[in-house]
């Protein structure tokens, strides 16, 4: 589904990613871990196409298509979803209206008809219940005045409604209490399927107690310094990122 080779990227001419290689197949869950400043969030944003980041070398193929040639909205319509670490507020724009616009943009791209109002509201209500979100939030402006946890639930709600093929969660677990954390994990686990892949970017092993990844990769100084199975996350939790410092330094 996703094939990344020797990916280099910069922000304001400062190199952040320095040669990432990663292959993700449908049905897989990959966890990307690493200390602050290792390039995790940059990686997530580069995949989604944020134009603040410039890809300087390497390639990203998504189902055989060159991602770099696709603007962010095309990537989204092709099934790439980014759950943001800091979801933005859009004053005056109804959350449910936004959700509908997003869903219809994706459906239109897939050649499907727009959902009618009744079907749409039924779908949203079902998903709202799944993510245990206060229903009144869907009638408020997008993320405006939401608590940190509510914003994250809202991201998961959007993911559940849009049903992406490749979902990237950018530190969705940061700052969440245990209940919200479980909600996020439940959302991912419910969507897990043979046709869908996840890239879960996280600083802590905590979330991985609830979502068992197929692969764990550790980023250091903009490249993958170690890959392994779920046990790698546990080892990191025990020994800390300093354990890998030698490797990181050597790689940098």
């Amino acid at each position: 589904m996703l094939s990344i080779k020797n990916l280099h990227a910069t922000v304001d001419d400062t190199p952040i990613l320095n040669g990432i290689d990663l292959s993700v197949k449908a049905g897989e869950v990959h966890a990307i871990m690493g200390p602050n400043g290792s390039g995790k969030s940059t990686f997530a944003h580069v995949l989604a196409g944020h134009d603040q980041y410039r890809v300087t070398r390497g390639e990203m193929l998504y189902n055989g298509r060159d991602l770099q040639a696709m603007p962010p909205e095309e990537r989204a319509r092709a099934g790439i979803f980014l759950a943001f670490q800091y979801p933005v507020e859009i004053p005056g724009v109804g959350n449910i209206y936004f959700l509908k616009a997003a869903l219809n943009a994706v459906r239109k791209h897939q050649g499907l008809e727009e959902l009618d109002a009744m079907d749409f509201i039924a779908l949203v209500r079902e998903k709202v219940e799944m993510v245990r979100m206060d229903e009144s939030l869907i009638y408020r402006s997008v993320n405006e005045g939401f608590s940190g946890g509510e914003k994250k639930r809202n991201e998961i709600l959007q993911m559940m409604v849009l049903e992406p093929r490749l979902a990237i969660l950018d530190e969705t677990d940061s700052g969440l209490d245990i209940d919200a954390l479980r909600t996020v994990a439940d959302g991912v686990n419910q969507l897990r399927s043979d046709t869908r892949a996840f890239i879960i970017v996280t600083h802590y092993q905590r979330l991985l107690n609830y979502i068992t990844p197929d692969f764990v990769h550790v980023l250091g100084a903009g490249r993958i310094v170690r890959s392994g199975g779920p046990e790698l996350a546990l080892e990191l939790e025990e020994r800390g990122y300093e354990w890998l410092n030698g490797i990181t330094a050597g790689a940098a």
Binding site: H50, G92, F98, A101, A102, L162
Partner: protein, 482 residues
């Protein structure tokens, strides 16, 4: 300063969709202005003497005045002697008695603009007065409104059929001495709409006037007078468009509203005059004086405006709150793109006790657009317990545009409460990316964010027009980011 999004600029291309010219034979006066021209206009309209006298008084006063310089807008001096002050489609000079007799070319023009004048096709519940250059060419649903005693007609007709009402109210809110452009209007105004809603009548449909400037080098000087008698209600909407031309054209209108005791007037404007091209060539100078008076207790006047067009907009729809407990409201969206300039706001004059006013102003500036809010809240000594709330929000797109706020507050009564809030924000790169990551195109994302920003104001518009206004905001920003 926040980093500039180079894309915001490329998204800000405009596409003016009402820019066509209708080829009709016109009956015009020679360019220039003197007493002879004013007499000629008055004669063409077969006006009674009181009208001619009033026009001449206004003209003589105007000659003693100078062009106002205090606003923030810049434009080359206007040569008032090169303007044609009266132009009417020739077919009109015989005066069509009914819609069937209106020149089909004119009907087609309004049809193209989405304003069907044939009553069977018209929006249910909206009566339209169509003003083409200097004259009203058609008014729909007149008979139906007459059943309720409501007068809705062109100003010219009102002068003939209801001279007493015109005489009583004309200039009672905006006197002919008021300001440079209002005086000019009083001297040469050619047509406009007239509304009278009798005591206790709730007007059953939206009334609207659709203004169209067509002829070259012609100024449009219309005058609207709306009188809501005791306990009545009326909602009125105006829309405006003009062809795309390289020359600037002057539109200097006057609107007067009178709300008697317990009456309510809701006045909405969707202004889409030709804004000029991307280089700032051409466009309408929209210099308008709008004022209402709440003359009786518990009266209420609401102004709602969505200003997306014109090269320059200079207008301050105001309310004089004379009656006790009367209410004045001003809801405004002003958008300036390319080289457009807007200096707009309101005046709320509190005279009566417990009078209340609220002002919600949303300014959007893109590219080199300049947007100023200028507002006066004046509480007189007599206005015990007066209250005002003002909120001015500005949204900037790109780094060459500007937003300015000039609030003037004068309070002579210490029981008054006046609040003012102002914010300025920039369309965030992050907001755009968020929307695009969810599958929306950059254009749709901008429209969504801008409409969200304007929501408080758009909510005040009658339903059909709110939809139009939203589309218009989208079109006016087309190509803004991408």
């Amino acid at each position: 300063m926040v980093a500039v999004n180079p894309h915001i600029d490329t998204l800000l291309k405009t596409d003016y969709q009402a820019g066509f010219v209708t080829d009709v034979e016109a009956d015009s006066v020679a360019p220039g202005l003197d007493e002879g021209i004013i007499r000629q206009i008055s004669r063409k309209k077969q006006e009674p003497d009181f009208m001619l006298d009033w026009r001449l008084k206004a003209f003589r006063h105007w000659q003693t005045m100078t062009v106002p310089q205090w606003s923030s807008v810049h434009y080359p001096a206007i040569d008032f002697q090169s303007i044609v002050y009266y132009s009417a489609p020739k077919s009109h000079s015989d005066g069509p008695a009914s819609l069937d007799e209106v020149d089909p070319k004119l009907l087609e023009t309004y049809e193209k603009l989405g304003i069907p004048l044939a009553e069977q096709k018209a929006l249910a519940g909206v009566a339209v007065d169509a003003v083409f250059d200097s004259v009203s060419v058609a008014t729909t649903f007149k008979d139906k409104l007459a059943e309720h005693g409501i007068i809705f007609c062109s100003f010219s007709e009102a002068v003939h059929n209801h001279p007493d009402l015109v005489r009583q109210y004309l200039g009672s809110v905006v006197p002919y001495t008021d300001n440079f452009y209002a005086s000019l209007n009083a001297a040469v105004f050619s047509d406009g709409s007239f509304v009278y809603v009798p005591k206790g009548v709730h007007c059953p449909m939206e009334l609207s006037t659709y203004f169209r400037i067509n002829a070259l080098n012609t100024g449009q000087f219309e005058r609207t007078l709306i009188i809501a008698d005791e306990g009545s209600y009326v909602s009125y909407l105006e829309g405006c468009t003009a062809p795309m031309r390289d020359e600037n054209q002057l539109h200097a209108a006057v609107v007067e509203l009178i709300a008697h005791k317990d009456a309510r007037i809701k006045y909405s404007t969707v202004q889409n005059w030709y804004p000029g091209d991307e280089q700032g060539q051409g466009g309408i100078y929209n210099f308008v004086t709008k004022r209402g008076i709440c003359s009786g207790a518990n009266a209420r006047i609401s102004w709602t405006q969505v200003e997306t067009g014109s090269a320059i907009t200079w207008k301050y729809p105001s309310v004089i709150l004379e009656g006790d407990n009367s209410v004045g409201e001003f809801y405004s969206v002003a958008m300036t793109n390319n080289f457009q300039q807007a200096d707009t706001g309101t005046k709320m004059i509190h005279i009566g006790r417990n009078t209340r006013s609220s002002i919600i102003s949303k300014g959007i500036s893109a590219r080199q657009g300049q947007n100023a809010y200028r507002g006066l809240v004046k509480v007189l000594k007599s206005a015990d317990g007066a209250r005002n709330y003002t909120q001015c929000d500005s949204l900037l797109m790109g780094d060459r545009c500007g937003a300015h706020t000039f609030p003037y507050i004068e309070v002579k009564n210490n029981t008054a409460r006046v609040e003012h809030e102002a914010t300025t924000s920039r369309i965030g790169e992050d907001q755009l990316f968020y929307c695009r990551q969810r599958g929306l195109s950059a254009e749709d994302a901008v429209t969504l964010i801008v409409n969200g920003f304007c929501k408080q104001v758009l909510n005040e518009l009658p339903m059909e027009f709110a939809v139009e206004a939203q589309k218009l905001l989208g079109i006016s920003l087309e190509g803004a980011i991408g």
